[in-house]
């Protein structure tokens, strides 16, 4: 799967950076597709350090959170590390209210997140 519809991928300072295309993660079929694309993008030996940048995201449901959890487990099982960055305060609330900010390491900015992976 080389062409993605739900995510954009880039490499910055040898770190894989993933951004979401959709501003609102609501549609069930789209969230399923997001999960598949995310898993494809983070698989492989070259993807042991990943930043997921939320700058485009204004809404993130618990169903979308579950896709992130699966991705985090995959990255961890590959010996890698994941950072989340650029979350709006209300989206960050989704993680803090469910205590998932203890599972995911969240940084304010992408540059900071990349630095923590160097």
């Amino acid at each position: 799967m080389d062409q993605y519809e739900c995510i954009e991928t880039d490499t910055v300072e040898d770190v894989s950076v993933v951004k979401f295309v959709d501003e609102r993660m609501m549609d069930a079929a789209r969230i399923e597709q997001l999960g598949s694309e995310l898993m494809d993008a983070i698989s492989g030996d070259d993807n042991d350090r990943v930043v997921i940048n939320f700058e485009n995201v204004s809404f993130f449901s618990s169903a979308a959170v579950s896709k992130l959890l699966v991705a985090e487990k995959r990255i961890r099982s590959q010996g890698g590390q994941l950072r989340l960055s650029n979350l709006r305060p209300e989206v960050r609330d989704v993680f803090s209210l469910t205590k998932l900010d203890s599972v995911f390491r969240i940084e304010d900015e992408q540059t900071t997140a990349i630095k923590t992976l160097q």
């Binding site: 809404f59 618990s62 959890l69 305060p89 209300e90 209210l97 998932l100």
Partner: protein, 130 residues
């Protein structure tokens, strides 16, 4: 009062939520409040579809929403047998943190001012004050 009887299809929920957001914006609700109400209602509807109606295509979900400049009240009723919300595992407990589901009720509880199930457990009312 916005009232819709929708089939057990999560995709239809997204369209209904857009109507809700439009109404909240018309009444001058702040972006963060709109986020919380939308989050609570979407999670309630998805729970009703998946856990209440078990995605059965012949079962419907009744969504009733009332909004003005001061208050939002939403009720979501499914055709399932109901459940006891007290028996839902706490997703913030250490052993449940990495489970891939079970966060919907916790999010509703946090984003709404009040949430109340009926005695059967198949109808949830959510309240939020501006």
């Amino acid at each position: 009062m916005l009232e819709r009887n929708i089939p057990s299809n999560p995709d239809i929920c997204a369209k209904l939520m857009q109507s809700l957001v439009d109404a909240l914006e018309d009444f001058g609700w702040a972006e963060r409040e709109i986020f919380g109400i939308r989050m609570a209602m979407e999670e309630a509807i998805i729970n009703a579809i998946r856990h209440g109606n078990r995605c059965s295509t012949d079962k419907m979900v009744l969504v009733q929403m009332s909004v003005n400049g001061d208050d939002f009240i939403g009720t979501v009723t499914d055709e399932g047998d109901g459940f006891d919300p007290e028996k839902v595992p706490d997703p913030t407990d250490e052993e449940n943190l990495e489970r891939c589901s079970g966060r919907g009720l916790a999010l509703i509880d946090n984003f709404a001012d009040e949430m109340q199930y009926n005695a059967t457990g198949n109808s949830l009312t959510i309240r939020k004050r501006k």
